[in-house]
Symmetry: C2
Subunit: 397 residues, 2 copies
């Protein structure tokens, strides 16, 4: 059976996994830690084993993976038939899943100015993968493709329309792979096929998306993935007047402002910590900066849920996904408490009992079904790659 | 009886009015028009008379007003006892009504960098008033004082806390004078004293404020008055990543970016028109850019109403105020349609019948009472001045 290598590159972690259909059979994780780097390997359902890593190996993670894969190539069943990589880049061109060609890489490079902290890293990873897997189709799984259905009221920013068109400045949205992955499992978790759904992706990145009959109709992330909600170290949306005043007062260039917002903002900016688990512990120990940061974080998410009800005209189901809310019942309580006026009523026992697995946490009488569904970006990317190759094969034949 | 001169300075219009208690007895309006300038005068309930004006007279509007007032000074009843001017400036210091002293003017000048398109004009006006009315107490009516009650979750931006503190970057909010002025009349218009109220100020500037038991708990405008909702020519909140990408692509300095957002954004940016009445006409004539701009405008306001329900934990009354919604039943319909899931149900006949006056437009069965109440910033400023002088007199005596 065909094997797909799924690649999810980030600046502080890179994940690789081999999928046989929908099943992950081998996965690697390379991660910056407090002290340096580590790599972890897991084989189909087994225990994960981790090792410290020389810094250099983080850069060459793709090679390491390729070597392992090549060492298996004598076993015919384990030949990789496609490599698919998650692409996060502002631009209408990037709002679709597509084969990675030279033209694609040129387009990506031409957008470096829009995400200077992110795109160069992605280009390096793609080039490493092309070298490491030279004769295998390389596919871009777009993190914004799912939001290509946004209606004009949500896609448009209220800036000069000609400039928006010339510079391709629109709400592209991200976390699309995650949102699409959890939507596939709403029926199996809730037993229903709700029409009006809000998906909250709350991990180190955060977003809230409104989904009407399976299609994204609005989302909090805008042009760049640092926008929308407050996140681990990203400020999300703040007053542009405040940003310009700051740039003037501190004589910041756009790249400095970008760093200030992306790397020193969010929960880190408010409480010197990006890890929500640690913040929850600090808040439990009554530390004010941690409590205040979590209160602000939850407040902003609540407000985003409220405003996403507008394009839906009501709400049938609310889905929470990604690590922070999958792991912590306390965080879920922070976010969902005092939301009765929107029809959201959580049952405390159900919520407390659910850790790291899928399930429904709303009360029986809750007008809105609330479910926790684990994100599966990597599995969804394997699916995207297989679909794309099947369609291409059909077109060719 | 004591007379208060109320001054509302703007870059394209300046309003002056003499108040005897709560009653306007004489008012002036100086306005930039398509061709030049005009000045209009209205005497207590009479017809307004307008004349074209040399450009220079717009700058010296305060002198013109002072000359008229001085020509009356033989009549003892018409001696001005206080001059009060609306102040719109970012800063904790400016979040209170206060006498204008040299220190106040220095503080205002020191914040020029935060609102370079706005503060210099205000300083010039204040200095003209000091010259024109040399021995009369001059008072600042703060447009953000009403929002000084915002709780930390709403007041805080998710940026580095030390920087926010050093540069005094918080959500100050504006339109506070307008919001406070309509709250005073909610009971007389609705016959109720609702606890949870949302006030939508929709004029050439726009904002939505959540009011709990008379106190502001959140508002859409943030640090600077160009933030929050889309407005006539102001973009409101847009993705900071998009703004930085634009600044890089076009090599814009902060002041250029400010102009781009404040003067070429909003409805003007989307459809080349700041006047909502004209846009409504164009939309009625099926012109797509006008329809799209109005749809976006209404959508953003709807979403703001939805998110303001969060701090209130529900909604009892929604108040619409300021010229655009006072005048146009069609615009109100755009904004309030499809809001049933938030308990907002408008009765079409009531809405259509109400033009330029106060009234309730919600249906009998609407869980949320919806009222239109004309803004009275100037009257409220007279009230602020009288209160402040009375209190000072008490402190002194």
């Amino acid at each position: 059976m065909a094997i797909t290598l799924v690649v999810n590159p980030g600046s502080s972690s890179k994940k690789y996994a081999l999928y046989e259909g929908d099943r992950a059979i081998h996965s690697w994780r390379f991660e910056r830690t407090g002290h340096g780097f580590e790599s972890c390997v897991q084989i189909a359902g087994g225990q994960q084993t981790c090792n410290a890593l020389p810094a250099d190996d983080f850069t060459h993670a793709a090679d390491t993976v390729a070597k392992t894969v090549r060492s298996w190539s004598i076993e015919e069943t384990k030949v990789v038939s496609a490599v698919v990589v998650r692409v996060v880049a502002p631009g209408t061109f990037f709002q679709q899943h597509q084969p990675i060609t030279d033209a694609f890489i040129r387009a990506l490079r031409s957008r470096e100015v829009t995400a200077p902290l992110h795109i160069p890293m992605m280009v390096r990873e793609i080039e490493s993968l092309r070298v490491a897997f030279p004769h295998i189709p390389l596919i871009a799984a777009s993190d914004s493709a799912f939001h290509s259905t946004l209606p004009p009221v949500a896609r448009t920013f209220s800036i000069h329309a000609d400039t928006a068109r010339e510079l391709d400045i629109y709400r592209f949205g991200y976390h699309g792979l995650s949102v699409a992955s959890v939507l596939r499992r709403v029926h199996s978790v809730t037993g229903q096929n709700p029409s009006r759904v809000i998906v909250c992706h709350i991990g180190s990145g955060c977003s809230v998306t409104a989904v009407l009959d399976g299609r994204s109709v609005d989302t909090t992330m805008g042009f760049a993935p640092g926008s929308g909600l407050i996140m681990g170290s990203r400020a999300g949306d703040i007053d542009t007047g405040a940003l310009l005043a700051l740039m003037r007062a501190r004589a910041l260039k756009p790249i400095d402002a970008e760093r200030f917002l992306q790397q020193e903002g969010g929960l880190f900016g408010l409480a010197r910590e990006t890890d929500i688990r640690i913040l929850l512990d600090r808040a439990a120990a009554s530390e004010p900066s941690a409590s205040d940061a979590l209160a602000h974080f939850s407040y902003i998410i609540k407000q985003a849920i409220a405003r996403m009800i507008v394009p839906l005209g009501g709400l049938d189901a609310l889905v929470l996904t990604a690590t922070a809310v999958e792991r912590s019942a306390v965080l879920r309580t922070h976010i969902l408490t005092r939301m009765e006026s929107f029809g959201i009523i959580v049952q405390a026992e159900r919520n407390d009992a659910l850790v790291g697995k899928d399930g429904v946490i709303s009360a029986k009488q809750s007008p809105v079904k609330v479910a926790v569904i684990r994100t599966d970006e990597m599995g969804y990317m394997a699916h995207v790659a297989q679909q794309l190759l099947t369609n291409e094969a059909k077109v060719v034949s």
